[in-house]
C-alpha cells in the first residue's frame, strides 16, 4: 500500500476530497429533504390534486315525478331529450366538425359555431352543448357518422312531456331553468346550473315532491378526458308520483267546450271539494318551457292581448252578474224578512231615489215570487228585496258561501275577489253606502268581484247543504315504490250557516232555471241527468240606452258582457258543481251553459252529441 503514488496523500488533495464528499452529501440531503416535504408532509394536498386529475363527477339527471289523474291516466310524463355536444379536448378540427354537424343536423352553421364558442367558457372537461333537444333521427345520423365526428357526443336527459298537449297547462304549471341569481340566493342550495324548477301551478307548488334527486357518476378519465371506467355510481332518484283528483275526461271536455273563447271552467265534487276539472282558455304549450323557452316565444305569450298565461280560474276576478243571486236569495231567506212567497211586480225597471234600474227584460216579468225571480232571473225582484235586507246581510251571506277570500286551493296562487259592505266602503272611499249600490250588488254588479273557483265553491255549498269545502286537486303523493307519503282529506271551511229549508227553496229555483218553461238555463240540460243552475251576464262597461238595442255582434268584443253559468247535478242528489265564465260571451245562457253541459255529460258519461237538447220547454235568454 505504501507503494501508492505519493500525490494522493498530499494534505491539499486530501482536504479537497473531504470537501467534495461533503458537498455531494449536502446536495443529496437537500434532494431528500425536498422529497420528504413533497411525499410525506404535503402528501394529502398532492393526493387530492391527483384525484382531481383523474376523477370526474358526472351528474346524472333525475326525472321529475309523473302526474296522474284520478283514474290513473298519465298527465305529465318525461321523455328522453337528446343534446348533441362536443368534448372540446377531443375535437381536433373544430371547423371540420362544425361543417359536418351543420350538414347532419340541418342547423345553421353560425348557430353551432356560436354555441361552440359559448362552450369554451364552461369548465375544462364539460361537454359543450351544440344542439339542444334534437330528434331521434338526427341522433341516429350523428351516431352513424361518429367516425367522422371525433369528440361529438350525445347527452340524454329527461325532459317533461305532456301527453295531452296544452290541456291543463295552467293547472300543471310550467318549468323554467334556474337562474344564476336563484342559485346564489341560498334558497336552492342543492340545485345546480341548468336544472329546471317549477315556475307556476302544481310544478311550483309541488316542487319539492316532483323534483328528483340527481345522481352522480364517478369516472376515471385519462389526460384526454377519455372515460376509462366508472368508479362509483350514485343512482338518480326520480321525483315523487302525484295523483290528482282531476278527471282528464272532464278537463278535456271543458277545454274543448270553451274552445277559442277566453274563459275558465271549474268543476268540484260537492261532497269533498275535489277539483274535477280546472280549465282555462286560451292556453299555451307547456312543452316550450320544458325544453327551455326561446325569447321570441316568451315575448309572444306575454304580449298576446288575450293573456294565454293567465290562470283565469284562480286569478280572473269577474263581476258575477246574476250568478250572485244565489247569495242574495240566501241572505234574504236567512234574514227572515223575506219569504219565498214574497211577490214583487216587475214592469221592467225599479226606481231608487231619482234613478231607474232596469230589469234585463225590457217589458218586465209581471208579478214575480222568489222561484220565478230565480228561474227567469228577474232583476227587479232582487232590487226590491236587497233594499229590505241591506248590503251587510248580502255580504255576510256571500262570505258564508265562500266568496270574498281565497278558497285555499293552493297556497298563494289565487285571488280573493271582492265582497263590498258598508265598512269596506267607508275604509276604501271614506264615504257612506248608497242604496243604489245595494241594488246593483244584489245582482252581482258594481264592486262585487269573484273568481271562477269561488263560484264553484259557492255552488257546491248550495248543493251540499251549506258546507263550504276547501277545493283541492292533489289527492295523494307516493314515492317511486308506491309508499304513500301524503294524502289530502276533505276539509270543510264553514258549515251550518244556512238552514236546510232555505237552501231547498233556492235549489228548487235553480232546478227551475234549467228544467222549467221560461227558465234561462235550459241549454245546460243533459239527457238522463237533472241539472240545476243559474245563468249570469256581467256588464263589462255601462251601456247607454241606445246600446241596449244593439245586437251582440254590433258591440265591440271588449265591450261585450261576460257570460257566466253555475250549476250542479244531479239536482236530487248533487255530486258535481260547475262554474263557467266566458269572457265577453254576451249571455250566460248561450255561451256558458253549454260548457257546463259538456262537463256534466263527460261526468255522467252521457252522449250529448246524438241527443240534442230537450227543447220541449224553451226558456229565454237572459
Amino acid at each position: 500500500m505504501n507503494l501508492r503514488s505519493s500525490w494522493v496523500d498530499l494534505p491539499r488533495l486530501k482536504n479537497r476530497f473531504t470537501v467534495l464528499t461533503l458537498a455531494v452529501l449536502v446536495v443529496f440531503a437537500v434532494l431528500l429533504l425536498r422529497l420528504w416535504f413533497l411525499q410525506v408532509i404535503s402528501n394529502d394536498r398532492y393526493r387530492e390534486l391527483s384525484e382531481k386529475n383523474r376523477i370526474r363527477y358526472l351528474p346524472v339527471a333525475a326525472p321529475r315525478g309523473p302526474v296522474y289523474d284520478r283514474n290513473g291516466l298519465l298527465l305529465i310524463d318525461n321523455r328522453p331529450g337528446f343534446t348533441i355536444a362536443a368534448l372540446r379536448q377531443e375535437v381536433e378540427d373544430s371547423t371540420l366538425m362544425l361543417d359536418q354537424l351543420s350538414r347532419y343536423l340541418g342547423t345553421d352553421r353560425a348557430i353551432l359555431a356560436d354555441n361552440w364558442q359559448k362552450g369554451k367558457k364552461l369548465p375544462r372537461y364539460s361537454p359543450a352543448p351544440l344542439a339542444v333537444d334534437v330528434g331521434r333521427d338526427i341522433v341516429e345520423q350523428v351516431q352513424e357518422n361518429a367516425i367522422d365526428l371525433p369528440g361529438v357526443v350525445t347527452l340524454v336527459k329527461p325532459v317533461r312531456s305532456y301527453p295531452y298537449g296544452d290541456m291543463g297547462a295552467h293547472l300543471f304549471g310550467y318549468l323554467g331553468e334556474i337562474t344564476e341569481k336563484e342559485l346564489r340566493s341560498g334558497d336552492y342550495n342543492d340545485y345546480r346550473g341548468g336544472e329546471f324548477v317549477g315556475r307556476s301551478g302544481l310544478e311550483q307548488y309541488l316542487e319539492s315532491s316532483l323534483r328528483g334527486i340527481e345522481g352522480e357518476r364517478l369516472l376515471e378519465v385519462d389526460v384526454k378526458g377519455k372515460e376509462l371506467r366508472t368508479l362509483k355510481t350514485l343512482e338518480a332518484r326520480p321525483g315523487k308520483k302525484v295523483f290528482l283528483t282531476l278527471n282528464a275526461a272532464l278537463q278535456k271536455a271543458a277545454e274543448e267546450a270553451l274552445g277559442d273563447q277566453s274563459g275558465a271552467a271549474v268543476a268540484l265534487d260537492v261532497r269533498t271539494g275535489e277539483v274535477l276539472c280546472l280549465a282555462n282558455r286560451p292556453s299555451y304549450d307547456p312543452s316550450f318551457f320544458a325544453r327551455g323557452i326561446r325569447d321570441d316565444e316568451w315575448l309572444d305569450l306575454l304580449q298576446n292581448r288575450r293573456h294565454p298565461l293567465q290562470n283565469r280560474a284562480l286569478k280572473g276576478q269577474y263581476p258575477p252578474g246574476s250568478t250572485f243571486k244565489l247569495v242574495t236569495v240566501m241572505a234574504a231567506l236567512r234574514s227572515g224578512l223575506v219569504s219565498p212567497d214574497h211577490t214583487v211586480h216587475c214592469n221592467g225597471k225599479f226606481t231608487v231615489g231619482n234613478r231607474d234600474f232596469r230589469c234585463w227584460k225590457k217589458n218586465g216579468h209581471g208579478d214575480v215570487d222568489l222561484k220565478k225571480a230565480v228561474r227567469e232571473s228577474c232583476d227587479v225582484w232582487f232590487y226590491e228585496v236587497s233594499l229590505q235586507i241591506g248590503i251587510d246581510r248580502i255580504a255576510d251571506a256571500a262570505r258564508d258561501l265562500g266568496l270574498g277570500r281565497a278558497t285555499g286551493y293552493l297556497a298563494d296562487d289565487e285571488k280573493g275577489g271582492l265582497i263590498p259592505d258598508q265598512a269596506w266602503k267607508k275604509k276604501r272611499f271614506k264615504d257612506r253606502w248608497y242604496d243604489g249600490e245595494t241594488v246593483i250588488a244584489a245582482i252581482g254588479q258594481g264592486y262585487v268581484l269573484v273568481t271562477p273557483i269561488q263560484l264553484a265553491v259557492m255552488t257546491a255549498a248550495v248543493a251540499n247543504g251549506g258546507k263550504v269545502m276547501r277545493p283541492y286537486v292533489v289527492e295523494r303523493v307516493e314515492d317511486f315504490d308506491g309508499n304513500l307519503l301524503l294524502r289530502h282529506e276533505p276539509e270543510t271551511v264553514r258549515s251550518g250557516t244556512f238552514a236546510e229549508k232555505d237552501l231547498r227553496v233556492l235549489r228548487d229555483g235553480l232546478d227551475a232555471v234549467v228544467n222549467e218553461p221560461h227558465g234561462t238555463g235550459w241549454l245546460a240540460r243533459v239527457p238522463g241527468v237533472r241539472v240545476a243552475g243559474k245563468t249570469g251576464t256581467a256588464q263589462v262597461v255601462r251601456q247607454s240606452e241606445e246600446d241596449l238595442d244593439l245586437k251582440d255582434e254590433e258591440i265591440a268584443y271588449e265591450h261585450r258582457d261576460h257570460a257566466l253559468f253555475v250549476a250542479y247535478a244531479p239536482a236530487e242528489a248533487p255530486e258535481i258543481a260547475v262554474a263557467v265564465v266566458v269572457e265577453h260571451g254576451s249571455h250566460g245562457s248561450t255561451a256558458a251553459a253549454p260548457v257546463a253541459r259538456a262537463i256534466f255529460a263527460a261526468y255522467f258519461q252521457k252522449d250529448i252529441l246524438s241527443e240534442p237538447v230537450d227543447a220541449d220547454a224553451i226558456g229565454e235568454n237572459e
Binding site: R4, S5, W7, V8, R12, R16, F17, L20, T21, V24, L25, V27, F28, V30, L31, L32, R34, L35, W36, L38, Q39, V40, S42, N43, R45, Y46, R47, L49, S50, E51, N53, R54, E220, V221, D222, V223, K224, L228
Partner: protein, 365 residues
C-alpha cells in the same frame, strides 16, 4: 500486455451498482409505458438493448490503458469540435434545434460526446500543471478557451441543457484542481455578468422555462404543466407509494415525458418516499464510488478523469431530480441509467467504462 491482476482488481461493485440502477430503471419504464399501444418493440425492451450495448462499450473501454487517453485527448477533442461545427453546417433539424449528424446508420449527437471530451482535454491540461497556490486567471485562460469554443457551438444549436452540463463538468474539474481565491472572486463577478448577458441572448422558450420555473402556476396548462404534474405525481406517492403500475398520474398520462425526463416522477409516485430514498441512496453510492475511484487512481490524470466522469454523473442526477421535484427549472436533462434513451445510456456507459478502467488499473505503474 494483458495483466491477470486486471481481472482480480476488476471493480465488481461499480458494475453491480450500475446494473442495479439500470435494472430498476427498466422495471420503471415497463410501468411508465404500459398504457402505450402495443407497437413495435416495447420501450423497456429497447432500453434493455441499449443497456447491453452500453455495458459492451464499457467493457471494451477497459481493454486498453486509460493513460493512452492523455495522448489522444487533443485529437479526439479537436475532432469533436469539428463535428460540432459540422452540425451547424449540415446538421439534422428536429423540434427547432439542430443537434444531430446523420451518419447513415445512426444519428450522432456531437454535443453529447463533448461531455466526455471536455473531461479528457481538461484532465490532460490540469495534470500537466500543479501550482501550489492554485491556478490564476492567466493559467485558466487555456482551459477557459477549451471550454468556451464547444460550449458556444452547442448553445448555437441551441441546446442549453447540454451546454450547461459541459460547463458544470468543466467547472467541477477546475474547482478541484484549485483556483486562487482572488481569481475565484473575479470569476464569480464575471460569471454574474455572463448570466446577465446570457439572459438577453436566451431564446424566448428558454426564458419562458425559467420564468415558469420561478412560478409554475403562471401558466398551468402551458409550460408550467410539466412541473405541476410532476410535483403532483411525486407528492401523491406518499410514504409507501401507490404501488407498481398503480400510479394514476403516470398510468393515465397526466405526467408528460414520463419515459424520458420525468421517469423518476413515475418511480416516486408508485414507490413513494421509501422507493425514492432507496434510489437516491443508490445514486449517492454511485457518485461516492466515483470519488473513491478518483481518490485511489494510480496517477493524477486518472484522478482528474474519474472526477470528471463522476461530476458528469452527479450533475445529470442533480439537475434531473431537481427539475422533477420542482427545485430547478425544466431543462431537458435525462436521469442517467433511468431515463429512456440510447444517447444518454451510451454516454453514461462510456463514463462508467472509464471509471472501471481507472479502478482496475489502480495498482499499475
Amino acid at each position: 500486455m494483458f495483466d491477470r491482476r486486471l481481472l482480480t482488481h476488476f471493480d465488481w461493485v461499480l458494475l453491480l451498482l450500475v446494473s442495479l440502477i439500470a435494472g430498476i430503471g427498466i422495471l420503471n419504464l415497463y410501468s411508465a409505458t404500459s398504457s402505450w399501444e402495443a407497437g413495435s418493440t416495447p420501450i423497456f425492451v429497447k432500453q434493455f438493448y441499449w443497456l447491453s450495448i452500453g455495458l459492451g462499450i464499457a467493457l471494451l473501454l477497459c481493454l486498453f490503458d486509460y493513460r493512452h487517453l492523455e495522448y489522444f485527448a487533443v485529437p479526439l477533442y479537436s475532432l469533436n469540435v469539428v463535428l460540432l461545427v459540422l452540425v451547424l453546417v449540415a446538421g439534422k433539424t428536429s423540434m427547432g434545434a439542430t443537434r444531430w449528424l446523420n451518419l447513415g446508420f445512426f444519428n450522432l449527437q456531437p454535443s453529447e460526446l463533448m461531455k466526455i471530451m471536455i473531461i479528457f482535454i481538461l484532465a490532460r491540461y490540469f495534470n500537466e500543471r500543479d501550482p501550489i497556490l492554485g491556478f490564476d486567471l492567466r493559467e485558466l485562460l487555456t482551459p477557459f478557451a477549451l471550454l468556451a469554443v464547444p460550449t458556444l457551438l452547442i448553445m448555437k444549436q441551441p441546446d442549453l441543457g447540454t451546454a450547461m452540463l459541459v460547463i458544470f463538468i468543466a467547472a467541477s474539474i477546475g474547482l478541484f484542481a484549485g483556483i486562487r481565491r482572488r481569481t475565484l472572486v473575479t470569476l464569480g463577478v464575471l460569471g454574474m455578468g455572463a448570466v446577465f448577458v446570457g439572459w438577453r441572448l436566451l431564446h424566448g422558450y428558454q426564458k419562458e422555462r425559467i420564468r415558469t420555473f420561478l412560478n409554475p402556476e403562471r401558466d398551468p396548462l402551458g409550460s408550467g404543466y410539466h412541473i405541476i404534474q410532476s410535483k403532483i405525481a411525486v407528492g401523491s406517492g406518499g410514504f409507501f407509494g401507490k404501488g407498481f403500475m398503480q400510479g394514476t398520474q403516470s398510468q393515465l398520462s397526466f405526467l408528460p415525458e414520463r419515459h424520458t425526463d420525468f421517469a423518476f416522477s413515475v418511480f416516486a409516485e408508485e414507490w413513494g418516499f421509501t422507493g425514492s430514498l432507496i434510489l437516491l441512496l443508490l445514486y449517492l453510492l454511485l457518485v461516492s464510488w466515483g470519488i473513491y475511484v478518483a481518490r485511489r487512481a494510480n496517477d493524477r490524470f486518472g484522478m482528474y478523469l474519474a472526477l470528471g466522469v463522476t461530476a458528469m454523473l452527479f450533475w445529470h442526477i442533480v439537475v434531473n431530480l431537481g427539475m422533477v421535484i420542482g427545485l430547478l427549472p425544466v431543462v431537458g436533462v435525462p436521469l442517467p441509467l433511468f431515463s429512456y434513451g440510447g444517447t444518454s445510456m451510451v454516454t453514461t456507459m462510456v463514463g462508467v467504462g472509464i471509471l472501471l478502467n481507472i479502478s482496475m488499473r489502480r495498482f499499475m505503474f
